[in-house]
Symmetry: C2
Subunit: 137 residues, 2 copies
DNA sequence: GATGGTCTACGACAAGTGTCGTTGACATAT
DNA sequence: ATATGTCAACGACACTTGTCGTAGACCATC
């Protein structure tokens, strides 16, 4: 019989891995791109080969993290989700896994980690005001 | 020769994995604990076996994420770092990998993700004031 | 139409992770 | 003192991830 299958095989969107996230960031910045374009976009940072980038993108297409347009010889990839959606998902995950769901702790950690600019601080203040206004209803 | 070693083998603290973080959270809540205690603390949530928990803790001891007291027959484990330190490290990592270093974006995502309580919002406001005061120096 | 470049696809591989079974040491109760 | 239970250690295993090499399709240009 077949218990020890343990992992229920998560079908939908199982959180992008490290390398996948790196490629997603490039797609979010550049918009739809070919493998070569992405490869060159990161070849400064990493010493990794062309086929590596290709393979990861193929995996991502299977998983549904990116969408592939095969109409041209050089396939064009685009991110399946907007940056904000994926970021939300990642924050949600970290919140659960490391902060027991306390978003305030996470915010404090983030602000302590890297000092935000004055405009950014103002933006956050704005958001706080808005939230308090809403909660008063 | 030895390039293609790629990963520079991070010796100190290579970011706790999923299962490791789960155990760390238990240690942070309960304080120093035995394997059995931790196993029972999560056996509600997961269907995972005792030896699994043991093995992961042994790996964590090797990596230095936990410190093991072997003076009793049932070894007692305690977290090597405070929750805040590890959380900071994780936030730093996510910041780089998914938010291009913009802590403001992360804060916005966190607050949108899960509405914080009024007291928590006040706490954040406090922190903002403090940061602005400092930056005026 | 042969040559060289560019692309996708496929397979291999090492390392890491999570999972468990088994074993041998030790303790406890009968 | 024998049987029962608990514990740490070790090895095995499947699966994922990141990495690459090679092969086969396609397209130039000579």
């Amino acid at each position: 019989m077949f218990w020890h299958m343990s992992k229920p095989r998560r079908s939908s969107s199982p959180k992008p891995t490290e390398a996948e996230l790196e490629l997603l960031q490039i797609l979010w910045e550049r918009g739809p791109s070919t493998v070569r374009e992405m490869y060159e976009a990161l070849s400064g940072d990493k010493g990794t080969g062309y086929t590596t980038t290709l393979k990861i993108l193929q995996k991502m297409a299977e998983k549904g993290h990116v969408i592939r347009d095969e109409s041209e010889r050089s396939h064009v990839y685009r991110a399946a989700m907007k940056a904000e959606q994926t970021q939300r998902q990642l924050v949600q995950d970290l919140l659960q896994r490391a902060f027991r769901g306390s978003s305030a702790s996470l915010v404090v950690a983030a602000l302590n980690e890297k000092r935000a600019s004055a405009t950014e601080l103002a933006e956050i203040r704005e958001l706080l005001d808005e939230m308090e206004r809403e909660s008063k209803t």
